[in-house]
């Protein structure tokens, strides 16, 4: 393979390579460490955390769709304290960046979690704003610019200098409004896209396959939506972007980078192939080499729109 510099910079954090694993697809890393050394990854977005442990939703929590899957796990997790005590020390053993992903019911909860995680020592905090906002009557933070800004500001205030990356929901009319709101409130980076709401019905039983009726769509089916949204957001804000949505090979990652992403995350592809992140990384390096680039980071924003 030609000598291509794989390292990238995401909000001041240097990743050994641009391939991160997406939150929710990789647990806390222990399972996939049985397949390869986690130091091979650019970074790990850990399973989404809440202030208190959550059991998640009843099963079935997954349904297969054309080139995609729907999930409704519902943020099952042991809570931020258990993560810090039981999981973070394990993750810290590897030469990779650890990105904690948090969801709160109130801005205060985001603040508390940021305090705890920054004190415990993570490389970045990914703020998931696509979960229900109890205070605002069930609306998602991710669909209202002023709420997105409030959460971002609170997270930033309590993160004690640890970079805050806001994860955007694609379930909005104009994603750039939310992106600008997060930027204005001090976000250090943006990650997108989260899953797209979808539904599958079993025709013979007339029941939705998911016990929660609807869920979040991911997998190759969403890649073009992710590319479009990363491209739109990249033009609207100056923040670095972690692009994700349906990446399963090097060319998919290259599309997101050309659209404006500084790094990419691999999620659903892991279920088909546990080695997918490493193959995406090698595929990206090969593309960069073939195009005569000295660094993969040169791909970022390189799209030549008509």
């Amino acid at each position: 393979m030609p000598d291509v510099n794989l390292s990238v910079n995401l909000a001041g954090v240097t990743l050994n390579n641009p391939v991160v694993v997406a939150s929710g697809a990789f647990g806390f890393g222990r399972e996939y460490n049985q397949f390869y050394d986690l130091s091979e990854l650019g970074g790990i977005c850990a399973k989404g955390l809440t202030l208190h442990p959550r059991m998640g939703n009843p099963a079935p929590r997954v349904a297969e769709t054309p080139m995609g899957i729907l999930n409704s796990v519902g943020l099952e997790n042991p809570g931020v304290d258990a993560f810090i005590k039981e999981e973070l020390p394990f993750l810290r053993r590897f030469d990779t960046k650890i990105i904690a992903n948090i969801s709160g019911n109130t801005p205060e909860e985001y603040g508390v979690m940021c305090e705890k995680l920054s004190a415990a020592g993570v490389d970045m905090i990914e703020v998931n704003i696509s979960c229900p906002n109890v205070k605002a009557g069930g609306l998602a933070y991710g669909t209202r610019p002023e709420l997105a800004a409030e959460v971002t500001e609170t997270a930033k205030k309590h993160a004690n200098g640890v970079p805050v990356m806001v994860k955007l929901s694609p379930n909005v009319t104009d994603i750039t409004e939310i992106a600008k709101a997060a930027e204005g409130a001090g976000a250090d980076a943006l990650s997108l896209i989260n899953t797209i709401r979808g539904m599958r019905i079993d025709v013979s039983t007339r029941r939705p396959v998911l016990r929660m009726n609807t869920g979040g769509l991911s997998g190759p089916a969403v890649l073009p939506v992710a590319v479009r949204m990363v491209w739109e957001v990249a033009q609207a804000v100056k923040l670095p972007i972690l692009g994700m949505g349906g990446v399963s090979k090097g060319a998919d990652a290259a599309q997101l980078m050309l659209a404006g992403a500084s790094a990419v995350a691999v999620g659903t592809a892991l279920f088909t192939d546990p080695f997918a992140p490493l193959k995406v990384r090698d595929g990206l390096a090969e593309i960069a080499g073939r195009q005569g680039l000295s660094a993969v980071s040169e791909l970022t924003g390189g799209v030549k729109p008509w």
């Binding site: 697809a25 990789f26 998640g56 099963a59 997954v62 297969e64 999930n71 796990v73 546990p274």
Partner: protein
């Protein structure tokens, strides 16, 4: 380290119009189980098979039998072609290659027999491995929808002390569900180390109730729509009696029946 392996199909047999038995050459997968988990491959574990290019989720198929590396290194699975993935799988021929992860999960925990093995439909195959694993001292009670769907009866006859069959329509053996036969058997004999059950959830629930009534420990192999197969994605959730959530792929598929919240 765990691997993803390309495995060639070396034998294939249609047991009923919908049920297929396939034997795969798995290299050192059988012996690697012990290096990866500290314990040898055992009944109730599964392999996670990729079913074509268009389907993103692998299909978990429980292992019916295996031969160690020195004996040739094979795993045999028996499955029903009922969805898109398993229909694709059923069409594969001898010589074709499958992408396999495994062996995965925790199987039945046994000592040498006698156990009461209770299977329903496509839940029957992994119990054949239990029959062999428990020193051919066990009794099997097997349920099927009808006579033409009965599978592996000759194999159980070879490897069990006694085999009783129930069918939903009465076309073979007892007319009714397996739990009635389980009750009869446990009333007659008190020497079973435990009940090992695999089948649809309503069947497992009833068998667990009967076993509990007689004070016999019962292990059940649970099924749930699965994602990664290794415990990372958390989709295959089962609620436990103590209110916690466990996952079929990593904590199971075999659980102690008394742990499971059957009404969740």
């Amino acid at each position: 380290m765990k691997v993803e392996q390309q495995c060639k199909i070396i034998a294939r047999e249609r047991l009923t119009p919908d049920t297929v038995s396939m034997t795969l050459a798995v290299g050192d997968m059988v012996s690697s189980a012990i290096t990866n988990t500290g314990r040898p491959i055992h009944p109730g574990q599964f392999i996670h098979i990729k079913c074509g290019e268009g389907l993103l989720l692998r299909r978990p198929i429980s292992i019916q039998s295996w031969l160690g590396t020195r004996m040739g290194g094979t795993i045999t699975v028996v499955f029903e072609a009922k969805g898109e993935g398993t229909r694709w799988l059923a069409q594969r021929q001898v010589g074709d290659t499958l992408d396999v992860l495994g062996p995965l999960g925790n199987g039945f925990r046994t000592t040498s027999g006698p156990y009461l093995l209770v299977g329903g439909g496509v839940g029957v195959p992994p119990l054949h491995a239990c029959a062999c694993y428990t020193g051919c001292a066990s009794t099997a009670i097997l349920g099927f929808r009808s006579k033409d769907r009965a599978i592996l009866l000759d194999r159980f006859d070879e490897d069990c002390v006694d085999v009783q069959v129930a069918t939903d329509d009465g076309s073979l053996g007892y007319h009714g569900f397996v739990d009635a036969l389980v009750r009869q058997e446990l009333e007659k004999k008190r020497h079973y180390q435990g009940v090992l059950a695999c089948g649809p959830k309503p069947m497992l629930k009833r068998v667990a109730e009967v076993a509990a009534e007689f004070g016999v420990p019962c292990q059940v192999s649970m099924e749930e729509r699965m994602g990664c197969g290794v415990g990372a994605c958390l989709v295959c959730a089962v609620t436990m009696k103590d209110g916690t959530v466990k996952h079929v792929c990593k904590d199971g598929p075999v659980f102690d029946a008394e742990e499971v919240d059957w009404d969740a």
